[in-house]
Assembly symmetry: C2
Homo-oligomer: 141 residues x 2
DNA sequence: TATTAAATAGGAATAGTTCTTATTTAAGAT
DNA sequence: ATCTTAAATAAGAACTATTCCTATTTAATA
């Protein structure tokens, strides 16, 4: 059932359906935490012990090109990936380096309106992302 | 005169005044373009041909720790540095990868007010940064 | 089932950054 | 002005994340 879901997703993007790609998609779907390539590998290896690291990177690159996945900017210089494509922002925890999604349509509205009114000269905006930096309350960690 | 300025800045942060640190500060002051460590080295080497790469990295790390410099998140996995500490946002050019500063106090006000009203549960906000993604008009490039 | 372009494994290569250690130096004490 | 010492630096090795290379395998289609 879910396997099929991933297959369809790949077909939709005109990609051949391979076990490796399916596995990476599955990993992205389950690792909600903006995983690094390495975390994805850890997950994928469970069921695909022979997968090569290069394949994971290649696959992720392909997904990014096809717009199925986004890269997430971090301050540590390791790439992280995000399978959620709906417009959202990120909460960055300074202490734990955890990155969490933040959805807020009202905020998006405000931003869009603001930049419609106040254009930036010589710059065409395609997207706006907030990095909300701070710390999670200790209780929740 | 300016050399002295850098010296004082270092003293203010309780750092020994060395030619290497002064040179890196000078580079950061002149390379407005959110330079990478490599660009900084290129600049510094002009007057300090013997400076070691490691020293530049170490120095930058020290400056970041002391809060004299910020790291800038990028999507390419290379670290970039920013000597401007005033609250500001960044314009990311998708085509050229240029990163430019964007100052807008009105926008900051709006954001601060918005998040005062609408708190994020379990998260204490320390800073908010906008990544404004798009392209510069070709004329200006 | 055969064909073929595309995908993968495996490992080497690269780039950016950090680490290690012997040597040098800035800054305070004498 | 010189001595002392902890801190900073040079030089290059080591490490890590990522990309590249190529022979082999495979998915999709005929």
């Amino acid at each position: 059932m879910t396997k099929e879901k991933y297959g369809n997703k790949l077909k939709d993007s005109n990609l051949k359906v391979t076990p490796q790609r399916t596995a990476v998609l599955e990993a992205l779907d389950n690792l909600k935490d903006h995983p690094t390539a390495d975390k994805i590998k850890e997950y994928v290896v469970k069921n695909n012990p022979n997968i090569a690291v290069g394949t994971i990177y290649k696959t992720l690159e392909t997904f990014v090109e096809k717009g199925m996945v986004n890269r997430v900017k971090t301050e540590e210089g390791v790439m992280r990936y995000d399978a959620i494509l709906d417009r959202h922002h990120h909460l960055y925890c300074e202490e734990t380096k955890r990155i969490e999604d933040f959805f807020d349509d009202e905020l998006n509205e405000i931003l869009i309106k603001y930049f419609e009114k106040k254009k930036i000269s010589n710059f065409a905006i395609k997207d706006i992302k907030l990095q909300i930096i701070g710390t999670f309350d200790s209780k929740k960690n």
